[in-house]
Amino acid sequence: MTIFTKNSRIDDIVDENYNLLPVINRLGIKLGNKDLKIDKVCSIQGIDTNFALLIINTFNNEQYFPEPALRSFSPIMIINYLKRTHTYYLDYLIPHIDFLLSNLIKSSKSNKKQLELVEKFYKKYKQELLLHINEEEEKVFPYVLALTNNTRTDKYSIHAFEKEHTNVEEKLNDLKRLLIRYIQPIYDEYICNEFLSALYRFEKDISNHARIEDKILIPQIIKIERGVNE
């Protein structure tokens, strides 16, 4: 697997894995920079090149996850990236999946019962996911920012938050599994493919997202909490 460097062009990165496009967006990197190398593009747009490369490489390559390097960045930078990811989910990806599912159900001319069960399952999953994202935005992130400013007001601790991620990912896996194995295929196959593709993309993205939260942000916070308590 390629590890991108300062000398990689945006083209090289996207050619290798076009699923990196949203990642590039979230870092704040815009397209249309001709064929400049990434460090040039980042410096023009005021983005930290090393951070950008770390995020891009960890997303592209599951085996690549240099924790010390990642933890060396300020939690604020990490949170900004995570917040942008939430925006991507809330403003684009989740509504997109909603739309595809609704089309899938409409495309079924005969018995819709099974797909309606799937829809029920998806809605419950979505509800849990939105709640989780909301808690991160309303509680966790502000808490982290307060910690880094030394303006911590309440007795919140990061430990409460840690275990949430597995449940959410489980259901996404189940959703895929149900469609691939068990649901009667009485719907438009092309629409189903689109829906499944979107689910796969979402799964990969959110798993990456969770990895950064669990392995980078939370340890950083625990460290700061310990520092503050001493």
Binding site: N111, Q114, L117, N167
Partner: protein, 197 residues
């Protein structure tokens, strides 16, 4: 096959007709009732765990019966629909119409005998016991409650659940519930199942 089948229908002619078809084809006992209260009163304590109930649609929506089904989730249920509605086509396995042909009817009923199928006749190579556990999981019972109902230990229940998850590759309870509903292991029409998802 040693299933006991209960038919609850106001019409004796329909009850007896269905009873006749079933007994020709399966080795089973059939008991007829005119209404749900009679069945519940007589069979409350003795009803076989894996009995099948064929019930006139209107009666099935009565609250007493709904509660009865919820308290006995291992029972299978099939609604009998009146003649004005279209005969049931494939995919809808929770009801039959009296306008269905005999073979359509038998095909649908056949799926209800899931507990009697041996080896991998049950879905996805789930054993009979695993299917029973799945049914209870999908009905919302805790491990302890399942253990009590099946007279096994909680440890065994957990072990069964691990196997089920591994065979199906479905991890969440809601996911298992959807699977169970699709495969008629749990009645899609039962309230408890729908709430869980």
């Amino acid at each position: 096959m040693n299933n006991i089948i209960y038919i609850i229908h106001k019409s004796e002619i329909i009850s007896k007709g269905i009873s006749c078809i079933l007994q020709e084809r399966y080795n089973c006992s059939v008991k007829n009732y005119h209404n749900a209260e009679e069945l519940i009163k007589n069979e409350q304590k003795t009803i076989h765990k894996q009995a099948i109930i064929l019930i006139e649609e209107i009666i099935s929506s009565q609250e007493t019966f709904q509660i009865f089904i919820r308290n006995n989730p291992t029972l299978s249920m099939l609604k009998i629909i009146a003649s004005e509605r279209d005969a049931n086509d494939t995919g809808n396995y929770d009801s039959i119409s009296i306008m269905n042909t005999e073979s359509e009817f038998l095909r649908i009923v056949n799926d209800l005998f899931v507990f009697d199928r041996k080896e991998s006749g049950s879905s996805e190579g789930l054993t009979k016991r695993e299917t029973e556990v799945l049914k209870l999981v999908a009905s919302g019972f805790s491990n302890k409650e399942i253990a009590d109902k099946l007279f096994i230990s909680t440890h065994t229940v957990i072990s069964h659940r691990k196997n089920i998850t591994e065979k199906l590759d479905i991890k969440s309870i809601s996911g298992l519930t959807v699977y169970a509903m699709i495969n008629n292991i749990v009645n899609p029409a039962s309230l408890s199942g729908l709430d869980l998802i």
